[in-house]
Symmetry: none
Subunit: 219 residues, 2 copies
DNA sequence: GCTAGAACTTAAACCAAACTTAAAATCTTT
DNA sequence: AAAGATTTTAAGTTTGGTTTAAGTTCTAGC
């Protein structure tokens, strides 16, 4: 088991690391938010423990960025503040548990185990942009069922939000290199997807850039 | 959302019930362990909240009996004691979360939501979804006898409710890696299972996602 | 404001994927 | 070894995503 602990109080961090490792939990430390986010993104951990008050980037921000990047590692938030609202807020923002400072290492270990033991969300192939969430594994956009081609097109847009994507690019990615290219394929599907976006009342729009292609933007 | 709250301090129980219901969470109350266990066994809840110190049967006992009976409803334990060991112990015995008294209702609500949101634990012999209960040890679905292959297929669906499952996945899981793959195996069985679902008048449907696979959903 | 090319929309046709059914083969049980 | 249950095979049918095509609307440049 391997965890990341992002904490600026170095004395505390060292003590916790020592205690966790006594229990066989390898612990990486970061003493500021930027380094923490960096490690959380680069390396694979079983669990990430985030202090909220941190230099450079708060724990809340790290959590947010991680989930944006689609990293679904379990996260436990730590804070000296015991305000209930904060707790509620974090759990809703994608944290898996919350622990108030000061805490006993035994309790932290229990929480880590509980959180790691939970079955993984099957493989969160979810890409988010604006108010949209594309679930590639389930082929749904905000819960609406999509067809295979619709998924592939939306993937291209959502992987490159606000970036121009040419019809040729879509033809290659979705229909494959070999096939004869007819822009009307793309146009037909764009039309259908726009209808869908309107139906689900999304604020995200597919904008046409005449002669060049399309891009998605928030209204 | 519907929860059961087992608590002998009636004043507290009433207040919590009131606050939960304000948030749209239907709350059943029991003021002793026996009634609590009874309700937990008979009715279907999204979450069960157990005080530990209770007349007749302790919260710990209720938890134990529930898990023995293979009821996998999420459980949150409450206690005035804040000893870490107790917390650790309960989490290891199958509780899903732990909250120390006194607590604020907002915090309880956050925990309930977090715990309900988690994907279901499955290893157990009985898996439930919607109005279906698949008993793997007896090979029955709502009492109807199933064949071995039918059980395995339903297991895959019910372990991942509302999630897309491809034919290839089913072929591997049910027929094994080595075998020659013919989608028609899956199709014939899906057809039979659909007939069965109709016969028992279940609200659960197997939905086809053309080109991608199947998923189960409540009508 | 006119025009031509680009982009959009719609509906119908097509065809591979999915469904159903029943009979043959295989495995189990007595 | 026969009876019964389950699984596999096969063939005919249906369905719906994709393609095709035709008509309409938009937009940039004159």
């Amino acid at each position: 088991m391997r965890v990341l602990y992002v904490e600026d109080a170095e004395l505390l961090a060292g003590a916790v690391k020592h205690n966790l490792e006594k229990q066989g939990i390898t612990t990486d430390l970061a003493n500021n938010g930027e380094d923490g986010l960096d490690l959380a993104v680069k390396d694979i951990y079983d669990c990430v423990i985030l202090d909220i008050m941190l230099p450079k980037l708060s724990g809340t921000d790290i959590l947010k960025r991680m989930r944006e990047k689609n990293i679904q590692t379990p996260v436990i938030m730590l804070s000296a503040l015991s305000e209930v609202e904060t707790k509620v807020g974090h759990l809703d923002k994608g944290a898996d548990d919350y622990l108030a400072k000061p805490f006993k290492t035994a309790e932290l270990i229990a929480r880590i185990k509980a959180v790691v033991r939970r079955p993984k969300t099957v493989d969160a192939g979810i890409i988010k942009y604006g108010d949209l969430a594309l679930d590639k594994t389930n082929a749904t956009l905000n819960g609406e069922q999509l067809t295979a081609k619709e998924v592939e097109i939306m993937t291209e847009f959502m992987k490159n939000p606000e970036n121009l994507i040419s019809k040729e690019h879509l033809l290659v990615k979705v229909w494959g290199e070999g096939n004869i290219c007819d822009d009307n394929y793309v146009e037909t599907y764009i039309s259908r997807i726009r209808k869908l976006l309107k139906r689900i009342k999304s604020h995200v729009k597919i904008v046409t850039v005449r002669g060049l292609g399309y891009k998605i933007m928030e209204k």
